[in-house]
């Protein structure tokens, strides 16, 4: 027994030092960090590190999604009717390698993104602005070196000049995306990355940079520089040569811990300042209110989700009889607006908020998060209304639908409990209206669903969108335009809405854009192409000695979503 006691004491003595030190931020995450190369950064786990090692020309001002402020730029001017952007760059900025940042580095960075523009990256939206197409030179042969070179140049005054083929009101927001960070061109070329020269550009087209030399050995201008990254741990330390204010947190440790229980225990013991949680229900039960834990609720959510009602279902297997005879549906079942409206009135939004979101959810008026410019809270919303649903079903197909009934097969993403619950709520309510109405719901693997929905082969499904850049166009065009990314899943076209969305794309006048988006919202309510899912309400939690995290400076566009801030804004007491 004595031996056991002695061993225990020894172990206690050594592991008592485990708690996260004051100058060190410890974050235990559930996901890995795929890349540290800004040229291919397109996921939040990578972005959460890249945005702290590197810097972009502009960044968001505090919690605002519409106000941008200079970061590596000091100011900018827009000329030539909104097609030329001229940036003055910050002086005296050093890269982690010791190299001084010049305009050539910025030019190199953007050209590299346009040249490579690999499928894995988010550079397609930069290319859309600067080349007028999201493709790279492999996929679009009209892209030449001359076009890339002309799109971004340094002038004689050392200013960075972008020349756009057409007006793009979202261009500045796109520059705040961590994938558009300025990289150290000398360092990168020295490692064997593209040398920035015309002679070699073709070799780099479409190249996947996920595991590039630069990813393994990054050099940015950010407040933190990489110490080491191995399979489970990433270590970063404050960069002594940083041009800005010296950060309070000296070291940052990101550990990958897949097991939720292990993360929770580390967090509750204070060994981790921040962890990835397990969803609201789990976190509220196991973490909220515990000693040493701070909880911030009612944060904005930038994901928009909806039931998709496909108006041209290209999958006979889902159609049953393919006719309105009660045993199936025609491929164009959802083409009748009355059907879509009836479904929209049949979904119990409040029940979904209660059951799935534990009361923490709210209905939106359009598929655009309310924190974005252009969101109009005054647009009408569908509510759960049996009488109205019944009335619209009776009106559909000249009364045939109500008389004959239908059998619809709807798929949801396997493993997504919220989607399953939502489908079940809709099914129960619709089937209760008329015994001849039948909805079969089934789970489907994500990869299959991605393909089938893209090919227009899903009848009804639930999907969402998170923003690439903070501009309403990224949602409105994606969801509502007949040229938008989601259209093949919906096969819906409204010429008037298309026109408004194109107009909103080609003006930099925000009042005008907001007016147009509001019009789209109103028309979309009336046409009901989607059933809008209530949006969850965001929350974060952290150890209570962590300072600098609050609802007032939480910015959902910052990839480090554990705090919604850059690391340099944090400290510990």
């Amino acid at each position: 027994m004595k031996k056991v006691a002695a061993l225990a004491t020894l172990l206690t003595l050594t592991s008592a030092l485990a708690a996260a030190p004051k100058d060190t931020l410890v974050y235990q995450s559930s996901s890995d960090i795929p890349t540290l190369d800004p040229g291919v950064t397109y996921d939040t786990a990578s972005g959460g590190v890249v945005e702290n090692l590197y810097e972009t020309l502009v960044t968001y001002s505090g919690a605002s999604l519409s106000k941008l402020e200079p970061l590596l730029a000091t100011k900018w001017t827009i000329s030539n009717g909104g097609k030329t952007y001229t940036f003055d760059l910050r002086k005296g900025v050093k890269f982690h390698s010791g190299n001084a940042m010049t305009c050539a580095d910025a030019e190199y960075s953007f050209e590299r993104n346009l040249v490579t523009n690999s499928a894995e990256s988010g550079n397609w939206f930069l290319a859309e602005s600067l080349l007028g197409t999201g493709a790279n030179a492999d996929d679009d042969k009209t892209i030449t070196w001359a076009r890339i070179d002309k799109a971004v140049e340094c002038n004689n005054a050392g200013q960075l000049v972008f020349t756009l083929p057409a007006v793009d009101p979202a261009f500045l927001a796109k520059l705040a995306f961590s994938g558009q960070s300025v990289v150290d061109s000398k360092h990168a070329a020295g490692l064997g990355e593209w040398n920035g020269k015309e002679a070699t550009w073709k070799d780099w087209v479409g190249k996947d940079l996920t595991n590039s030399k630069l990813s393994q050995n990054p050099s940015g201008t950010g407040a933190y520089k990489l110490v080491r990254k191995d399979s489970n741990t990433l270590l970063a330390t404050a960069f002594d040569g940083y041009w800005g204010k010296k950060p309070a947190i000296k070291n940052v440790v990101i550990q990958k811990v897949s097991e939720l229980a292990a993360r929770q225990q580390a967090f509750l013991r204070g060994d981790a300042d921040l962890i990835d949680g397990g969803g609201r229900a789990v976190d509220e039960a196991q973490v909220k209110g515990k000693a040493g834990v701070d909880w911030i609720d009612n944060l904005s959510n930038t994901v928009a989700q909806a039931f998709f009602m496909n108006q041209n279902i290209k999958n006979p297997a889902l159609l049953g009889s393919g006719k309105l005879d009660g045993r199936g549906i025609p491929a164009t079942f959802f083409k009748d607006a009355n059907v879509r409206r009836a479904f929209s009135y049949a979904f119990d939004y409040d029940k979904y908020i209660q059951d799935v979101q534990k009361g923490k959810g709210k209905q939106r008026t359009m598929l655009l998060p309310e924190i974005f410019g252009g969101y109009d809270a005054k647009v009408s919303k569908y509510t759960y209304d049996k009488a109205k649903a019944e009335a619209f079903f009776k009106r559909a197909y000249g009364g045939q639908l109500w008389k004959n009934g239908f059998t619809l097969t709807a798929n949801y993403r396997q493993g997504s409990e919220p989607s399953q619950k939502a489908m079940e709520i809709l099914k129960a309510n619709v089937e209760a209206l008329n015994p001849k109405f039948r909805i079969n719901i089934q789970a489907k693997q994500w990869s299959e669903m991605l393909k089938d929905s893209k090919d227009g082969k899903e009848a009804m499904t639930i999907m969402g969108w998170a923003p690439d850049y903070a501009d309403p166009d990224n949602f409105m065009y994606t969801f509502y335009s007949s040229n938008g990314y989601y259209n093949p899943r919906l096969n819906w076209k409204d010429t008037q809405i298309d026109k408004w969305l194109e107009q909103a794309r080609s003006t930099v006048n925000n009042t005008e854009r907001n007016r147009l988006y509001s019009l789209v919202g109103k028309k979309a309510f009336e046409q009901a192409p989607y059933i809008l899912m209530p949006a969850g309400i965001g929350y974060i939690f952290m150890r209570d000695n962590l300072v600098g995290v609050s609802a007032s400076n939480y910015n959902p566009m910052i990839s480090f979503s554990a705090t919604g801030t850059f690391w340099k804004e944090l400290s510990k007491k």
Partner: protein
């Protein structure tokens, strides 16, 4: 003897070839979209699905895809693992030593304890100690490792605070890791060779709970087999003869009975070590221990073909090498099974 070893080693490439054909063949049952899924992390990236399939040649016919894999493998390039964000070779080089370290720390206690307890149980058949051990065996059998792991973590880390939680080192020590020169890849050994006893001790502490989990879960089977073997040996003719000759009971038990009872334990030990070296999938995941097992779990979840193939190749080598060693050990224990 040498012939025997060489023959076994020649088996490795053949086994690998068949395995790789099977695995690449099986993946052809997946659609190109499913095989492209590991490259997609969001709806936004899904928009680029077609380009990803195109770039990686996922629509190519099976012989083309297999040929591509084989060519690069023969050039020593096992491909890039999405699950580890590294080349497969680099991943194995980095992670295997850690798993070896955990295997050493786990397998030796398991074998020693199991042989001891199995013998003890047989010698005290139906007495209290035997009953107790049988309860332990049933428990060890029926408790899944994720239950034992989380339970140990909750008690010794979260509640008592005696042992560290997940990972391989404490946060502060992870920074010192860059200064440590690598000799063997085994962190405890390397740290000690660098004179960093604090880090060696820290790494050792981090392995106690995962090792304990594996000891609890994996000992049961061997204890049971050892008990049965011992019981059989104790009632055999040669033991009776030895006893009749007037040898001391301890000598009879150790030299005559136990030695024979150990034969099948050697086979089991082989399987145990193959299993441990192939990564203790669940235990490594629970304790965020950056070994082979943790990687394979992620790879399997993400349909990471390069990783799964690389792991299969590694396992083939481990299986052939360990079973060769087991066969040699057989000869050492049992003179009837000599190879020359």
């Amino acid at each position: 003897m040498l012939n025997f070893i060489v023959k076994r080693l020649i088996q490795i490439p053949v086994v690998m070839l068949v395995l790789s054909l099977m695995i690449v063949g099986l993946t052809q049952l997946l659609t190109p979209e499913q095989r492209a899924a590991p490259y997609i992390r969001s709806e936004q990236q899904a928009a680029r699905l077609e380009q990803i399939i195109e770039q990686r040649g996922l629509r190519d016919p099976f012989p083309v895809q297999y040929g591509r894999w084989l060519t690069s493998t023969l050039q020593g390039d096992l491909g890039y693992s999405k699950a580890s964000n590294q080349d497969v070779i680099v991943t194995i080089k980095e992670r295997l030593p850690r798993t070896v370290e955990l295997t050493i720390l786990t397998a030796i206690p398991i074998l020693l304890i199991s042989v001891w307890l199995g013998t003890l149980s047989a010698l005290h058949k139906d007495k209290f100690i035997d009953q107790l051990l049988r309860v332990f065996v049933v428990l060890g059998y029926s408790l899944p490792s994720f239950v034992v792991g989380i339970l140990l973590l909750a008690v010794f880390y979260a509640y008592l605070g005696w042992l560290p939680g997940s990972g391989q080192l404490n946060v502060i020590n992870t920074f010192a890791l860059g200064d440590i020169k690598t000799y063997t890849g085994l962190l405890t050994v390397d740290a000690a060779l660098n004179g960093r006893w604090d880090i060696a001790w820290d790494a050792l502490q981090h392995m106690i709970l995962p090792a304990l989990t594996l000891v609890i879960v994996l000992s049961a089977n061997i204890i049971k087999v050892m008990r049965n073997n011992m019981l059989e040996a104790l009632t055999s003719d040669y033991v009776r003869t030895a006893r009749a000759k007037g040898l001391a009971p301890s000598v009879v038990n150790r030299k005559h009975a136990r030695r024979n009872a150990l034969l099948s334990i050697v086979t089991l030990a082989g399987f145990l070590i193959i299993g441990l070296l192939g990564g203790s999938l669940i235990t490594e995941t629970i304790f965020a221990f950056p070994g082979i097992g943790q990687w394979v779990v992620q790879a399997a979840v993400g349909v990471d073909l390069a990783a799964v193939l690389g792991f299969a190749m590694l396992t083939a080598v481990i299986v052939v090498v360990v079973s060769t060693i087991v066969d040699i050990l057989y000869g050492v224990i049992d003179p009837r099974v000599r190879f020359d």
